[in-house]
């Protein structure tokens, strides 16, 4: 392997003159590129726009909920808003965010490869994403959908609002997701550099691998399911309509067979980001490498058999309820394995407190607290009380949104120098990170309390006794929005004026730092040969001081 770092040399870092960003010029060279790094950058811009849009919807919802009565919109608008917030955030942001952006950009670099296995398919997946996104947005402009992102039948097949473009958009987004997953699996199997066995892959790669398996296996089912809903709405065949002999619960089963594993499509890459970044900022070998790697596969596997916990109140048999509850809790076991290993990695490390580490702490809090509430809602008797209340909303936002956004921001800050060769402003980074972690708690902890007190989800009005907590939640959301605004400003500034970072500003031992930052067009001038384990911070000749599992 080439030298892991040149940190202690005194020369100022230089910005590589020719790199993937300026190797070819012009918009057309970007739109027709098959370079995984450029595709990653285009995904980055796209998902950030989607996040902005979803965030604007979220703020509109929070403003509406400031007062018990109607505030800025009526019931119908509110229903459309929460639907679009959910659809945009889940299908356009959280699912493609980390695999699409950082998976694309980093996977070949981490494997020592020149590109992903199928570069053209990779570009196709981006175009499919854009097509799907356009259709979803067209659906919004044509009047919007009011079913919630779950499209439960029979309401979704009878609602007068525009549904078909949104469903078709999701169907196409599913293809995009499948193509990405398939591409990554084949890349990992075939394009590892010489010397890199499976047990030498970075943990981010392991997480992407597990994610891709879910993407490939689960996504076709949601594709078919939304297609059936669309056909049902147009043709009125009665497939999910009880008055004509169909079974609406069948829809719920099919929907959650994808959509439950889908939460692991969102959260597993997030876990991978944390596993990678935590070793860098603790400057210590990752603790329990194999356990973290295998637990990703464990979550992917168990995640396929947990969908029934969404149907505790849908007339499922008591036996099914119990079985799904127990299986759901197994996810907690695998997650806990990861959390313990992360914390053990921090223990006695040479911790450098940088912006990504603040987000890592936020992530650990959200995943533990959100995970514990997950165990709680997986308990049947408790779920009957909390079902369809703000408790579930808060749980979901803690474990999914909290974890994914934290990880997205960790990745964005940690790999920003890798992608653009420049540094962001550390001080402002810390300020924004603190605001976001605090704002997130302030937004969703009141929602836990609201849900427990019985406030149902998806209503634009509520009894007056809920107002104080709703105002608190909206205030937290404003903090959150302000934090994101700061990030946007200092990152754009850093892109243009940021200090030149050098090839490896964090002195990380991740394999993606073996090449220059930003990397040249074909990643490596010579195929690297991997001679050491990943996340290894031992100096040559140094004894390992803790037990390596």
């Amino acid at each position: 392997m080439s030298q892991p770092s040149q940190l202690h040399e005194n020369k100022p870092p230089v910005y590589p003159e020719v790199n993937y960003l300026n190797a070819d010029r012009g918009v057309w060279s970007w739109l027709t590129t098959i370079d995984h790094k450029r595709i990653g950058i285009m995904y980055l811009i796209s998902v950030m726009l989607a996040f902005l849009l979803g965030g604007i919807f979220a703020m509109a919802l929070r403003v509406e909920l400031l007062t018990p009565g109607p505030t800025i919109m009526g019931a119908n608008t509110y229903n459309r808003m929460f639907t679009l917030h959910g659809v945009v955030m889940i299908f356009l942001f959280m699912i493609p965010a980390i695999p699409g952006v950082f998976g694309n950009f980093l996977l070949p670099l981490m494997l020592g490869a020149k590109d992903v296995a199928f570069p053209k398919l990779n570009l196709l997946s981006l175009y499919l994403y854009w097509t799907g996104a356009t259709l979803v947005l067209a659906g919004m402009i044509m009047g919007g959908t009011d079913t919630g992102w779950t499209f439960y039948t029979p309401y979704s097949t009878t609602t007068p609002t525009t549904l078909f473009p949104v469903l078709l958009g999701i169907f196409i987004l599913g293809f995009s997701s499948i193509v990405t997953g398939l591409n990554f699996i084949v890349t990992i199997h075939t394009l590892r550099a010489p010397g890199m066995g499976f047990m030498r892959m970075q943990l981010f790669v392991w997480a992407i691998y597990a994610t891709s398996i879910i993407q490939v296996l689960a996504t076709p089912v949601i594709g078919l399911t939304v297609l059936l809903v669309g056909i049902e709405k147009v043709g009125g065949f009665g497939l999910f309509d009880a008055t004509r002999g169909g079974d609406p619960v069948l829809f719920e089963h099919m929907f959650w067979f994808y959509s439950h594993p889908a939460v692991y499509i969102m959260v597993l890459p997030a876990m991978g980001v944390v596993s990678d970044a935590i070793a860098t900022f603790a400057r210590k070998n990752i603790f329990g490498y194999k356990m973290i790697a295998y637990s990703s596969l464990g979550i992917a596997f168990v995640g396929f058999f947990a969908w029934g916990h969404h149907l505790f109140v849908s007339g499922q048999s008591a036996f099914n309820d119990g079985a799904f509850a127990v299986i759901s809790m197994l996810v907690g076991v695998f997650t806990a394995i990861k959390v313990f290993n992360w914390v053990a990695t921090l223990y006695r490390g040479a911790i450098s407190i940088k912006t990504p580490l603040i987000y890592i702490c936020g992530f650990l809090f959200f995943i533990v607290f959100g995970g514990m509430t997950g165990i709680a809602v997986a308990t049947v008797s408790l779920d009957v009380h909390w079902h369809d209340t703000y408790f579930v909303i808060a749980h979901f936002h803690f474990i999914m949104v909290g974890a994914v956004i934290m990880a997205f921001l960790i990745a964005l800050h940690y790999w920003f120098p890798k992608m653009f060769g420049r540094k962001y402003h550390e001080g402002w980074g810390m300020v924004a990170a603190s605001l976001i972690v605090l704002g997130f708690n302030a937004t969703f902890i009141p929602q836990f309390l609201l849900g427990n007190a019985g406030m149902p989800r998806r209503y634009y009005m509520y009894p007056e006794r809920f107002q104080a907590l709703n105002v608190a939640s909206t205030a937290g959301a404003s903090l959150l929005a302000f934090g994101f605004l700061i990030i946007l400003i200092y990152l754009i500034y850093a892109l243009v004026r940021g200090e030149v970072a050098g090839d490896n500003p964090w002195d990380s031992r991740g394999f993606e730092w073996m090449t220059t930052s930003p990397p040249p067009k074909h990643n490596f001038d010579q195929t690297p040969i991997i001679t050491q384990d990943p996340h290894s911070y031992q100096e040559p000749g140094e004894e390992v001081e803790h037990v390596v599992i």
């Binding site: 296995a117 398939l182 075939t190 296996l217 079974d247």
Partner: protein, 216 residues
């Protein structure tokens, strides 16, 4: 940009693979994964079939008796034969026999057309009898509750399958045109193999659909 001084450059080798063997392995793996997603796409419809067959056992039994069994059998034979011919086409190109390969592909494509034609006639009959489900359903011979669902599943499953036949056929036509232009030889034939794999999948889905919809 670097590389490729050592070996004679292979025009089919992409820049990010070291050897053509590795690249072939990668595209085969990719194809198998894709076929897996196709199976899962159909799995949803098979699930729907299973559930509604359980709910409406009598109606499903009765409605399946009203399909044209001989059309189904003919189509099954046609498709299995086409699977054989596509396998023979692959075998031929592997030995460099371009003409035999082209002939076998043409035979396969003719089989695909035959399948679609028979299916079209079947659909036409069912439309006339009023078996189109939903609000159009007025099939006098099968009125049991649930018959509507049987025909919904029937049309969706065979329709999705027919769509795959059309896609598979288009792929085979494209491959045929490349065979005729002499793109393939015993040293490079992976696309023929992948097209054949896809066609086998189309065949395989039908092998499950036929007994479920026509026989039991």
């Amino acid at each position: 940009m670097s590389s490729s001084d050592a070996h004679a450059p292979n025009p089919h080798l992409a820049h990010h693979y070291e050897t053509i063997e590795k690249q072939d392995y990668a595209v085969r793996l990719g194809m198998w994964l894709f076929l897996g997603t196709e199976v899962l796409l159909f799995a949803g419809l098979f699930l729907g079939y299973t559930v509604y067959r359980h709910f409406y056992h009598e109606a499903f039994h009765e409605a399946s008796r009203h399909l044209d069994l001989w059309a189904g059998i003919t189509n099954t034979v046609v498709l299995i034969t086409s699977s054989l011919s596509v396998a023979l086409a692959y075998n031929a190109i592997k030995q460099g026999k371009t003409k035999l390969c082209a002939g076998m592909l043409i035979f396969t494509i003719v089989c695909a057309f035959t399948f679609l034609a028979i299916k079209g006639i079947e659909y036409h009959h069912k439309f006339q009898e009023g078996a189109l489900p939903g609000k159009w359903y007025h099939y006098a011979e099968v009125t049991a509750p649930g018959a509507n669902l049987y025909y919904t599943v029937y049309f969706l499953a065979t329709g999705l399958h027919a769509f795959h036949v059309i896609v598979g056929m288009s792929i085979l036509i494209w491959i045929l045109s490349r065979v005729l232009r002499g793109h393939f030889s015993e040293s490079y034939y992976v696309p023929v193999e992948l097209g054949g794999l896809y066609w086998h999948l189309v065949d395989l889905v039908w092998i499950f659909l036929f007994p479920l919809l026509y026989l039991i």
